[in-house]
Symmetry: C2
Subunit: 333 residues, 2 copies
């Protein structure tokens, strides 16, 4: 686990787009986002207090989280200076960068000397088991998508927030780098060795209270030929009781695959359900989450009403309307 | 690629069971199996000429292949002596052991000094691409199973041999450690990083002559919850034109999952076909391969006839009857 609270390092991010990870942490883990640290020329601003390393330590920060992509995959000397100083001041470091902190000899040496931890969340740090398929106590929801990047993480995060607001027991279970940096833990599923994928998800969603919900972040899509195997491992390892279908209706082809059209919600429903029932015969599809960000309000409402009518399931855009109706669909199970 | 021909190292294998990999190479790649090297106390005998390292080099051997499991996961000093000497005599080394040759400091040092290669086929040596899903020239067959270890590799190997005997263009494509050591190349799919699984299979089965068949070794099963994601990546990366259903009818539960019963051949057919057609709309199920090793001749014949009648597809046990009818089913496509 990555120790919270965090000081969010924005480096020399040219704009807000480059600070996507930091924005995710600020929006979804505000209690952990103590402040921001910006270098000269930084064009991003999270609206959080600007803090020096010393100020942040005094305010209780435990980990310096790199909340920004590095240019050209190189950790620059300007960054290194801050990262080294942070460890000397007592911070652990956390990063979702493609190039790993641990592979930088100087950072690794300082970490050893200071006893600080380097969290490279892009690679697994755990030896996961082979999945055993045994039923587990507690309940599980998995967001599945017609495609990659249609709002599966957002849906599960919004549901967790709504459930906590209602006093329900729920835990968002991160399966990607951004989700891990937001929550402080999880499984970087796309980097797990093939044989251990399903086992890593069993490990992530262990026995729990009977009224506790794991809200599992989806990855890829059963219908996306590049990543479908990852998605199936998530379905079989997660043993979800409830599936939520996620969709982005304006997309013209599968992400990265211009020659593949998108499946219908019905196709996603039938396929996901037949796969999920192999591992958990009680699995149900309970709702639809539609990402309407590229639609006018009127068009979004019409699209949601049409999907709801066609599939006979609550259909919402959690960004526009909150996740309340999806949570109610879970509790009705 | 691992350079053939091989000298097969049996070490101090207590019995034939321990020499399973070497037996596979002898049976399926006899041209590459020049001889065997046995240490004192070895209880296995492949019926190949016993050769010293020097004799084998003079006969043209290029690689010393460890064809036996090591006891307790330790490469003993007795083995090391032979492995070091082999490199000094000019052999590359190849191994499917869990503990890697490259992790043994002394072996790695001698390999560097002598310029010899250490092939640890249990881990990938290639940086595979993300799958792009583009159609490729040439044709592809994939063996899919109701369970793990039901005869998928054997079926594809028997078909390759039969197709070569008939003068057809065909290549067995290994996706597991034993298959890789038998053929000298392939993808150790169970050890590939999740995001690159489907891409590794695209890489393994590239564009080819229109009348060439890739015979892809299956792994796991879509219905086996521990490994289903690996199988789906194989289906979507392989884009098979033809599927052959593999089954072992005496098994009482899924391998390693005592609480999961086996699916029917019909369930395997429907599920595999719907998945395969996402990547290749022309995919067909063309035949059934049943492993009848635990049945009497009469019971085996009855079982095959019943399956053939029920599914309307040729059903054979390639071990008992050869793979001729499965090959004819491919050519009829």
């Amino acid at each position: 686990m990555i120790q919270a609270p965090y000081l969010l390092f924005l480096g020399d991010a040219p704009d807000m787009l480059a600070a996507k990870v930091a924005i995710g942490i600020r929006d979804w883990r505000p209690d952990a986002a103590l402040g921001q640290l910006r270098l000269e020329g930084c064009g991003a601003d999270l609206g959080l207090p600007d803090m020096s390393l010393t100020e942040a330590r005094e305010a209780g920060a435990r980990t310096l989280v790199i909340g920004v992509a590095n240019r050209g995959g190189v950790i620059s000397q300007a960054w290194k200076k801050v990262l080294v100083q942070a460890m000397e001041e007592g911070f652990d470091l956390a990063s979702g960068l493609h190039n790993l902190l641990r592979d930088e000899e100087d950072l690794a040496a300082v970490a050893r000397a200071t006893g600080r931890r380097l969290h490279d969340v892009r690679v697994p740090s755990v030896r996961y088991p082979i999945a055993n398929g045994l039923p587990r106590r507690g309940r599980r929801m998995l967001a599945v998508g017609t495609d990659c990047s249609v709002g599966k993480m957002y849906t599960a995060m919004a549901m967790e927030r709504e459930m906590h607001d209602r006093g329900m027991k729920a835990t968002f279970r991160a399966t990607g780098q951004t989700g891990i940096l937001i929550t402080g833990g999880g499984v970087p599923l796309d980097a797990v060795i093939a044989d251990f994928m399903a086992g890593s998800i069993e490990w992530l969603t262990p026995d729990n209270d009977p009224d506790h919900w794991d809200l599992i972040e989806g990855q890829g899509s059963l219908i996306h030929v590049s990543f479908s195997g990852v998605t199936l491992a998530l379905i079989h390892g997660g043993q979800p009781d409830a599936l939520i279908l996620c969709h982005e209706p304006t997309r013209e082809h599968m992400r990265g695959l211009p020659h593949f059209g998108l499946p219908s919600l019905e196709e996603l429903r039938d396929l996901s359900l037949s796969m999920a029932r192999m591992a958990n015969p009680r699995a149900q599809v309970v709702g639809i989450s539609i990402n309407t960000q590229h639609m006018s309000e009127a068009r979004a409402e019409a699209c949601l009403a049409e999907a709801e009518d066609r599939l006979g399931l609550p259909a919402v855009d959690p960004y526009r309307h909150g996740a309340g109706r999806l949570v109610e669909a879970l509790t009705a199970l």
